[in-house]
Amino acid sequence: MSVADELREVVRRSLAGAADRRRFLADEDRPAQIDADLWQLLSGDIGVAGLLIPEELGGGGGTFGELAVVLAEAGAVLAPVPVLSTAGFAVPLLRSAGTPAADAILRRIAAGGVTAAVAWCDDRQPESASFVLDGAAPGVMLAVAGDELWAVEATRIEPMRTLDLTRGMAEVDFVRTEALGRPNTDLTLVSLAAEQVGLAGRILDDAVAYAKVRQQFGRPIGSFQAVKHKLADLLLEVEIGRAALDLAVEAADAYLDTGDADGLRTAAPMVAGHCGEMATLVARESLHVFGGIGFTWEHDAHLYYRRAKADEVLLGHPAGHRRRLAVERGLFGAQRSPSS
């Protein structure tokens, strides 16, 4: 059993043993909550937050491949923990920034239990941002402004109403306290894609299982070509996502090992351009396979659909990523496009 497989097992068991995720859903009165016990278990005991942090900084010294496994597992169950923001966004940004100041923050995260949130700033507003994932009460707040990563201190935090009920976003005003270096933001595209692959794979599995047992017209609906061909097409899209993710993870590890970002520059927009639409498609069509029951509040299909929609636009539109990919592959003219 590989390290990644072992890690997958450990994480899967921890997630399976966690409290009902519905307890942490956003509702009219409050934003989505974090399952603090689960996060302590994952980030502290299992070391998920510090997985990608070098051992000399107190981390697990793991690979991006292992991180992707964790993000996919958490995505598969929509775990109410800040693993994408902390382990998937903040840590890779800090590692690639690579300054002593960034390392100091990595040490704090490696200890576990800390939520780290990243604010993506508009060029015109370097000290405020909206749509900050898990930004309601982070232990560490970072900001990407222009090419630079900053440690910041929040002066105002306002939770936002969100489509995704399983994970919060916030509007944040802040002051920049310390420059941390230049990060490689492509790494965050790969992290997000890992989550998308995980969630799409799971909801497709669930839809397939349902299609095998749900009877209409005296036979399982999965025996009708309309349903079985749809599910086959969805599997193809998921498999393309898995293949693209494998390549992107490989490129991310190559970058982290050698500093050579060439492969990542292609692989990151590639996986981001595919997985954003793929996850939405798979969640939406799986929901359709569930029929009436899938349209009810009690069924979990809509939680996957909500997460997929939120992820689709979180770090830019898939079409924009595809145009960037074309530019990276030599279609220089594409740079002139207004929406690339």
Binding site: F131, Q215, I293, G294, T296, K309, A310, H317, S339
Partner: protein
């Protein structure tokens, strides 16, 4: 009565009882939703208006005189509705099923006594009817309903669970499709008109994935129905159900015109410009595509083409609008910046999957189109 005289009378009535709309097209409301969330106030306003219209002679223009109708051709009804749209009157949504599906079914299949009791009353909105067809185990395959009706002398006793019922909480009667024998498929069902206030009827709101509850579950636990409230033959309920669904398809305001308010293309263009993304080539391309398909859908309704084709086009247009809105709003769709008509679209996006299921799934519609419009063979089922 000439059409001109009729129109003159209608105009006089409307001028006397309603305000003209200031603009024909209204701005989208704060909520952008595909499902009518009829508050009891809204239901009441609809009922009061329908009574007024009925009493003035415009409430059932094509209906038989003995039940308060005018016995006029359908062209008169269209003329009235076209005039009425110029006025600010309560929405018809809460009564669509009652007047468009339940009433004609009762009229076609009930005994004279039952018709005397209900038809005029339903059309005047003194009573409201709902439809008890779908069950958790009988969605696309309606013929597999499991709610049982067992004969007991002159009455029947009903047990079972119905789902996705609109308006059950304010309905007086329900059209219930039940299983009455172990016989062959399509020959083992019977239709009843059930008193929704009878003992054993329990209505619970059904919260859908959008977060609101615009449908109901209805539990029938030993509900007693008189045999005289049976519609059609014993074990002949399938024919009655098919007739009801046929009325649905021809009902004005039926499935094909759902989403009409949201699919107002001029409002959409204006909104995209205000949002500042009219210059995005992808938005423009998608808007052009949607404009074409929405315009075609309107034209196809006028030429009365296959209703299943209309339903398919409607749901694909709603999906396309969802994609366009996602492209235009980006993250503003998924978290609320507090700006007008941005995050409000999220409720719409969450509702679209329901439109692909309710009133016949996309797959059932494609079967229907292939079999009825193209004459392709039925599948071996």
């Amino acid at each position: 009565m000439t059409p001109e005289e009729f129109a003159e009378g209608a105009r006089r009535f409307l001028d006397g009882h309603a305000e003209r709309r200031r603009t024909v097209e209204q701005r989208p409301a704060a909520r952008i939703t595909l499902f009518s969330s009829s508050t009891s106030d809204e239901v009441e306003r609809s009922r009061v208006w329908q009574r007024t219209v009925f009493d003035a002679g415009f409430g059932w223009i094509t209906g038989p005189a003995e039940y308060g109708g005018r016995d006029l051709p359908v062209s008169y009804e269209r003329a009235y509705l076209s005039l009425e749209r110029e006025y600010d009157v309560p929405a018809k949504g809460p009564l669509t099923i009652s007047m468009g599906m339940v009433t004609p079914t009762v009229l076609s299949f009930a005994t004279d006594a039952v018709k005397d009791r209900w038809v005029r009353s339903l059309r005047r909105a003194d009573a409201v009817g709902c439809q008890l067809f779908s069950e958790p185990g009988a969605g696309s395959d309606l013929a597999s309903v499991a709610t049982s009706a067992t004969r007991d002398g002159d009455t029947w006793v009903l047990h079972g669970q119905k789902v996705w019922t609109s308006g059950a909480h304010y309905a007086d009667v329900g059209l219930a499709l039940t299983r009455t024998s172990a016989g062959d498929r399509h020959r083992n069902l019977t239709m009843f008109l059930v008193d929704m206030k009878a003992p054993g009827v329990e209505v619970r709101p059904l919260r859908q994935m959008t977060g609101s509850a615009e449908f109901n579950e209805v539990f029938l636990d030993g509900v007693v129905v008189a045999d005289s409230d049976r519609l059609g033959e014993v074990d002949g309920g399938w024919q009655v159900a098919m007739a009801t669904l046929g009325f649905e398809r021809s009902a004005i305001g039926g499935a094909s015109s759902g989403g009409a308010g949201i699919l107002r293309m001029d409002d959409l263009a204006e909104w995209l410009e205000e949002l500042g993304c009219g210059g995005d080539p992808d938005v423009a391309e998608m808007y052009g595509r949607l404009y074409t398909r929405v315009t075609a859908a309107k034209a196809m309704r006028r030429t009365a083409s296959n209703p299943a084709l209309g339903k398919l086009l409607l749901t694909s247009n709603l999906n396309l609008l969802g994609d366009l809105v996602t492209l235009a709003l980006g993250r503003q769709l998924v978290a609320d910046l507090g700006r007008d008509r941005t995050f409000a679209w999220s409720e719409f996006v969450l509702g679209v999957p329901g439109m692909r299921i309710g009133g016949g799934t996309d797959e059932i519609m494609r079967n229907t189109v292939a079999e009825r419009a193209l004459g392709l063979p039925r599948e071996s089922r």
